[in-house]
Symmetry: C2
Subunit: 783 residues, 2 copies
């Protein structure tokens, strides 16, 4: 996309300078606005043409039966799919007697821009109707970061050459027809018109629609109101029916005269409250927005973002494309999480219906590790959501015959929704990702209240899961057999190193927490015996190693398997899972996404530098990156073992995953984890950020393509800015009490007002590892 | 059932002396008649009450979509399910104005008997209607072994106490309503009324119905004709509609006077021929049957069975229950296979719709090994059927990225129908079972024509599969990774010993066959290089062994897994797969059915006696027999390692699987493989029959409960009778040229007229192994 000629490279915005319908769906995802609670795809104001219309409220889903050709015990019976709620974006325009539609007439000019500092999507179009009437249409759209129920649009239309009569229809549209998704037609049928109208009303320039989802029984209210500024004679009519709220504005405009419409749209939903309560909540939010006004919303939006960027901005000199991409990624990370309060962070945020809107492990494994240093409050919200689902996770564990909690592989509400048991039942590492996020959050914030309310219970229940899942063998080693690790081209294997190391950390953290807070531990039923069991299991954790090759085995026996025949695999046969059966992928040495290499990153303390170099080189040869959750991790470890230019290429792939539509599915929504992966690649990769026991360590080293990198992280309530170039790194503590850090292994102490500068040692990397044919990271023309 | 008071123990029949509606569905399975082409469940003549109405033609199925919550590459999209065809069994009776129905009025007497020598199901009922009219109804029913399209019923009704008017309605019923199966309601819907009427006619005492299955497009014609013998004034009317053919006979009978009806029912079907052709074929068969007449059909049936029993009978002295059960099993084996010509042998024969009527590996792995020694021609038919499906199997292999042929895990027509990929994609051992059956058949018959037409190609294409499925590792060992062995409580594991040993035999047999017939090999594209590849793979085959425990690993790493917590498993939690998730069963040491122990049986040459004893003892401790395909194998190996009483218990469990309804699913059809398992347990077990390179060896030893065992096997066109008691065994060659055998390892030579007697050496068994708590074989009260 960004390599697409319509998109410009600039530091603080994503801009397309013309409209290309071939990439319309992708652009809708890239231009999506969200605050983590409400999401609007970047659909054109007039609704059509569209790639995929989308308006989402986090947590609003429809249920559907999960079908099986041969069912088994414990297979989930019910799935959950994000619902396209009542669409408040639509503003249709009639110019004289011609509908404004970019597919007809002539589009003289069209620009869309997502501004990362203003937090708005703006659009400007000059259009000539089939009969030659020319108008300029501009709109500025926001989803408010300060009033989470609110979106607003400022819409203007101006005749360019001659007086024109215009009719503007501003709408709420429920149950809008959607392109059919692939897959099971029965599920598509369930989602065909998921909203049942319960109430509608209209008056003045207002309308409200209340609906309830058919099976999941969730009630959604969407209300709109308008400020209309037009010439005398401008008429406004409001009307409503079950699935439509419409305010029609009619005006006769002189050439150069502008009709201006500000549309406020308010949303509320609930699974338990009454129709009047849900309706009133939307109308109350609407009143609040009207009171704030358009300019007020705009300025609050900018203030919120100023504050965000002051904590989160990353400056990259030497590569404008990466500079733009990392800010784009951080902006969407903010949008996916800022106001998610009490809900999970879906893999696609609220930018599309890819993966059915489900939350996966990448929330805790990729997004929260970044968010912890930039917006720790959002991390607490996300983990508190997991905590609210604990009853479902303990029920699920019991159903599987296990202790503790088994969090779902994919879900919206909290129940397991995976219809593929090697993932849904066996990918237990999601539990380790949750505990890892808890540990990091507590380490960075020291948030005792969170630990007491939620954190400790999450650590304890996940530790219980591991203890019951594994066993000590005849040698006393603790084995965790038959689980699926991160690499989805392996499944149900023994002693996955990543899983085992993450479980080890989980068990020890739970034991330490229980030790520190023995009263709370007691209330959770944790005694000395159980803690000893956790410590013993952690101490004796199995980590399969191939002594002949001198590398760790992703899981036991992995390195004995046949290597995938990469030479015989044609480029169009990627991603492999669409062209080869699971069983064959599972039994061969081929890696979809970093798994053992993710262990090298997340549990680097468990490997020597030499092991890291050998393991990385080995797994590079067989990793195909058919997942977006790989490049950033490979970037980090490549940087650590000294392959800086390779790391740079992986950084670019992660950063441009959606901007370049690398996996050809950006149309269904953005890859939030890959977008934050750009930050991970830069900060964990080139700055070498690691954290252990409350101390941040850095090992800065820039690739030849970058001249300077600067970023800020929060630690124990203080902000620390790191600035590095090819020669040295400077650490500046912006506020708070002194802080200890490490630079390339050497300790240092930072105080406010006393920056610390340190030289960067030279690297002596071994020979750069190779990838399977055709699977090198994409090398950009510019690099 | 046989422990059920209504069933008697007798040597040549299965008889119930009263009607118990609680076990009606089970009795319908036990009393099923079949010739392998046509099957009639033992439903009551009057159609109701019923457990499960069933009339089947081998190969007649309906297609239905296979649903997946998350589909994957190579998952079959279409399933096949056996269809209940037009039911020609129904003969309803009206006595004065009361319908004969055993649920009303009073059933004074009711007996049903399946005669293993006559090949008929007879029934006698004395019934008093609610208003007190008493009649005797008798019927004798057969499915002809000599005219495969034909079934016939001789039906008689006699007033007992007073003159009565009776109306007999003899019917053809299509699309009869069935009890809903469990599982997916959408699939049930497809099968609700699968037959579309194409033609119907009636006249005289005849009727014919022609239907076509809705999706699979198979055309089925069923025709009936009657001979009516009643007093003067007896009226006969025939009529038909789309789903009903009916011949109504009205008669006024004096007390003691009998109305007799002989009903001939003829069947034909085709997937390609025209409606008239299929109809005419049924009517032609009907003409043939009428010409033969009822007595002719009866006497031909008896002659056929006399010949069968002369080749196949087994005499067991000391245990009448086992005597009855083994003949019951052989009778049903005959029924499942006798005239299956050109079709597979379903797991349930044609006795019910269990497993959707599918053919599995147990056809080749359990049924054919017995059939080879008793009815080798039927084996050739069954294997020729597999050969006709070779194009589908090579297509499937190519789809999976493999060479050669991948035969389906479950099918009716030949396409893979398993909707569970760890079975449907990974249970490759079905291919080894097919090649094993080919090898044994060729060894026993020397049938060169079969080898040329089909056998060699089956060996070559399965060998190609193994060669492409496995690989040589860094040590040169040949590994077959990621496959599912016979034990369904493990899946997708590396180097399953059973699979690897059977593949080894397959590879070597293919190489030897290609060597012997180099011209034919050349036509199949087999050259020296390929043969060398097969031999090298076979020679280097991996066989994982646990040196610490001194036992083979069912598959690599198996003995490191946690042992299932048998102590915490309650009796009602068996079968385990209904109460625990697959993933947990797969990753623990718990065995559903003989797997490594099946290797000890089928590839006993690969193990030392000490290894067999240790392996057997080890796997006994963790084998739960949640499958009917286990007890007979455990019996064989228990006998071989000297645990004769344990073997005896396993024999009983296999033999009584259906008679005692051990697995509570006999209602859905008989377990044909388990029924022949009684023969396997007796002959391979207590007589120790093994075969290698054309020589039969025996190692006879009887358990204390049996005084004598005698049986006959065919070898190279000759019949050999073996008779053994506690002290000695006598081998008698009944015909043909001299034959070499082995008795407890010592060679002997048999000639006609010169029986060979040999003493039986004493056994010195080790301590009897233990089974998981509650999973000992069922010890009968009588033993």
């Amino acid at each position: 996309m960004i390599t697409h000629g319509a998109f410009t490279c600039e530091p603080w915005a994503l801009r397309s300078t013309r409209l290309d319908l071939d990439v319309l769906a992708q652009a809708e995802s890239l231009f999506a606005l969200s605050n983590g609670h409400l999401g609007w795809r970047g659909n054109l104001d007039e609704g059509e043409p569209h790639g995929l219309p989308g308006s989402y409220l986090s947590g609003v889903y429809e249920s559907h039966p999960l079908p099986y050709a041969e069912a088994g015990y414990g297979f989930p019976e019910s799935g959950q799919t994000v619902v396209n709620i009542t669409n408040g974006k639509v503003i249709r325009l009639l110019v004289d007697d011609e509908a404004f539609d970019v597919r007809y007439g002539r589009l003289r000019d069209h620009e869309q821009a997502l501004d990362f500092r203003a937090g708005v999507l703006s659009r400007r179009a000059e259009w000539e109707s089939p009969d030659g009437s020319a108008v300029r249409v501009t709109s500025v759209r926001l989803v408010s970061l300060t009033q989470r129920a609110i979106a607003a649009i400022c819409y203007e239309v101006t005749p360019l050459d001659e007086p024109l009569r215009v009719v503007v229809q501003s709408e709420l549209v429920a149950n809008e027809p959607l392109p059919k998704p692939g897959g099971d037609p029965r599920i598509a049928a369930v989602l065909d018109a998921p909203l049942v109208g319960e109430e509608n009303s209209a008056g003045d320039a207002r309308s409200v629609l209340v609906h309830c989802t058919r099976r999941s029984g969730l009630r959604v209210a969407v209300a709109m109101d308008h400020l209309v500024d037009g010439p005398p004679g401008t008429h406004v009519v409001a009307e409503s029916s079950a699935d439509l709220g419409r305010v029609t504005v009619t005006a006769s405009l002189a050439a150069g005269e502008t009709l201006r419409l500000v549309k406020f749209v308010a949303h509320s939903w609930s699974g338990s409250r009454s129709r009047p309560a849900v309706r009133d909540e939307a109308e109350a939010a609407l009143a609040g927005a009207r009171d704030t006004g358009w300019e007020g919303l705009l300025s609050a939006q900018r203030s919120y973002l100023d504050e965000f960027w002051s904590r989160a901005d990353v400056q990259v000199d030497g590569d404008p494309e990466i500079q733009q991409a990392v800010r784009f990624g951080l902006f969407h990370m903010l949008q996916a999480t800022a106001r998610a309060e009490g809900r999970g962070i879906p893999a696609k945020g609220l930018t599309g219906r890819g993966y059915d809107g489900h939350v996966f492990w990448d929330s805790e494994a990729f997004v929260l590790p970044v968010l912890t240093y930039l917006m720790p409050d959002a991390v607490a919200h996300a983990l508190r959501w997991r905590h609210t689902t604990l009853p479902m996770a303990t029920t699920r564990a019991a159903q599987l015959g296990l202790g503790g909690a088994a969090f779902p592989w994919r879900t919206i509400h909290g129940e397991e929704c995976s219809g593929y048991w090697p993932a849904g039942t066996a990918a237990f590492h999601v539990n380790a990702a949750i505990s890892d996020a808890v540990i990091r959050y507590l380490d960075v914030t020291g948030d005792d209240a969170f630990e007491a309310d939620a954190g400790m219970e999450l650590l304890v229940e996940t530790a219980r899961l591991w203890r019951s899942l594994g066993h000590h063998d005849a040698d006393g080693a603790f084995r965790i057999d038959g689980v699926t690790g991160p690499d989805e081209y392996s499944a149900v294997a023994d002693n996955n190193v990543y899983t085992n190391l993450m479980a080890q950390q989980n068990l020890l953290a739970a034991a330490r927490a229980a030790e520190r807070h023995s009263d709370r531990a007691g209330r959770l039923g944790v005694g000395e015996e159980e803690m000893a069991g956790w410590r013993n299991a952690a101490r004796a954790m199995s980590l399969p190693y191939d002594h002949r090759l001198g590398v760790h085995q992703q899981s036991e026996g992995f390195t004995s398997h046949q290597r995938w025949d990469f030479g015989a695999t044609r480029p169009e046969q990627y991603p492999l899972m669409l062209h080869f059966p699971y069983f064959d992928l599972y039994r061969k040495q081929v890696v979809k996404q970093a798994d053992l290499v993710l262990a090298l990153h997340r549990r680097g303390d468990a490997f020597s530098p030499e092991e890291k170099a050998r393991d990385f080189a080995y797994y590079e040869q067989i990793t195909v990156r058919d997942s977006s959750l790989s490049a950033c991790t490979q970037a980090v470890v490549a940087a650590e073992v000294g392959h800086l230019d390779l790391a740079y290429d992986y950084l670019a792939e992660a950063a441009l995953m959606d901007l370049d539509d690398v996996e050809h599915n950006t149309r269904n929504g953005l890859h939030i984890a890959s977008l934050v992966g750009a930050w991970i690649a830069l900060v964990d990769g080139f700055a070498g950020l690691r954290q252990r026991a409350g101390v941040l360590s850095f090992a800065p080293r820039l690739p030849s393509g970058l001249t300077r990198l600067s970023f800020t992280v929060s630690m124990l309530g203080r902000r620390l800015t790191v600035e590095m170039n090819q020669k040295s790194a400077t650490y500046t503590l912006l506020d708070g009490a002194p802080l200890r850090i490490r630079h390339h292994g050497r300790p240092g102490k930072l105080s406010v007002g006393t920056p610390l500068s340190r030289p960067i040692p030279a690297t002596h990397p071994s020979k750069e590892p190779t990838q399977p044919p055709g699977r090198r990271p994409i090398r950009r023309a510019s690099s």
